[in-house]
């Protein structure tokens, strides 16, 4: 065990020289990803706390104005994201079992789900833009009489917008691991990037799980 080089004996994955083993490298990478997810939770956490404050200050506002959102669209997107989480988890499971083709199929389905989510969001957003249901001074709609109606759309666009950006980033990352999976770069011995992209994608799902009832289902 004297060599800490980049090359490794046949059958064993390569690992960087500052790690003891491929296992060590994998665990370190994963720990790093979890640390990043902590910052993500706290970033969205700030928005959730803002939501709590405004909802408690203006309960009637949220009750009235949430009708601008179509819960069916929100529910559809919830299902789409949940399924994408399943296929992402399956993709990792198949990589771990050396079933490359199945993993590729799962990643493609995950991408399609992500695109569907963004498509539905696009439809929702364009309706809001068209109706002037926009944040702050850009609010031009006559639909809601509540004086704080623009505030609801500030909250809505900030939370779903930041989430949507994450979906796009996640889709980019999935495309990257999809290409590498197709090239056969991953196996049961080395699949760190797929695993980490998976964690990121599941976090996006996790946040939407909370956003959906908080924004679309207020009663």
């Amino acid at each position: 065990m004297s060599q800490h080089g980049h090359a490794s004996p046949a059958g064993e994955p390569a690992f960087a020289h500052h790690f003891h083993s491929a296992e060590h490298e994998f665990e370190s990478s994963k720990f790093g990803m979890w640390l990043f997810l902590v910052t993500e939770v706290l970033m969205f956490g700030g928005l959730f706390v803002g939501y709590i404050i405004f909802r408690n200050l203006y309960p009637d506002l949220f009750l009235e104005v949430h009708h601008a959102l179509d819960w069916k669209m929100g529910a559809l997107n919830t299902i789409v994201l949940l399924i994408s989480s399943l296929t992402m988890a399956l993709a990792i499971a198949y990589v771990q079992r050396n079933k490359k083709d199945l993993a590729v199929v799962c990643l493609i389905i995950t991408l399609i789900c992500g695109a569907t989510f963004m498509g539905v969001k696009y439809i929702e957003y364009s309706h809001k833009f068209h109706d002037g249901l926009l944040p702050g001074k850009y609010y031009t709609s006559e639909e809601f009489k509540h004086p704080k109606a623009p505030l609801f759309f500030s909250v809505y666009f900030m939370m779903t917008g930041l989430h949507g950006i994450h979906v796009l980033m996640g889709m980019g990352a999935i495309t990257w691991v999809l290409i590498r999976t197709r090239r056969g770069e991953f196996s049961d011995k080395y699949f760190t990037p797929v695993e980490l992209v998976g964690l990121f994608w599941h976090l996006i799902d996790l946040i939407w799980i909370y956003l959906f009832p908080l924004l679309y289902l207020i009663s």
Partner: protein, 254 residues
Amino acid sequence: MSNNSEHKGHHLVPIANYFKVITALLILTVITVAAAQVHLGHWNTPLAMAIATVKAFLVMAIFMGLKYDTRENIFTISCSFIFLGIFVFLTWSDLFYRIPATPIKPDTTANAAAPLDLEKALKASPEAIAHGKELFKTNCATCHGEHGAGDGPAASALNPHPRNFTNGEKFKQGDKLTQVVKTITTGVKGSAMAGFPGLPLEDRFALAHFVRSLESGHANDTPADIEASGFKGGEKAKPKIPIDAAIQRLIEGK
């Protein structure tokens, strides 16, 4: 290489488990939507959050593999939720349990119902201004600042900001005495300025005198203005008190 062959971190989750989890997640989504159609009063949101948390646990435990992950990773991500919990709890408790600096005490004594001496009330006597100053400290200073400069402790949180009475800002609803009394009585719509109908009418006049005394150049009421304002001498003030004070009186059986 026995260490490597164990592959401790690479726990293989049976694929069937993933399908069990997605089934549970989809069922919980249907329950979330269905529960939102049922009217549960204040319980709708906590229920939705509880279901969301069950879903979040499923996603984290199985999809994200935390159930089979190292203790370090479980601890790390748990920390984020613990700190988020502290963030939410402290903000929430501040929002709900902050005691107003000086709660408004309605005057429920017989004096409050005494007939109004209009002539006396209209006069900006030093006594009236001094009395108004005292009332201002207990009822208004939290937002408007002790010296009426709109810089009370609560001011920074308010939009539109509380009126500064010392720098020539306009009174939104007029600066004549009767107009200011009306503003104090009914508040200003679209702002945090509340009405204080619980204060005896004479006190509201005293407050108006004090506020107007902070700056010169305010317009004065013409006799027609006073006529139009509807304030009449000898009028018995009907003290209105906040609902919670009324409930208190009911409970005490007074």
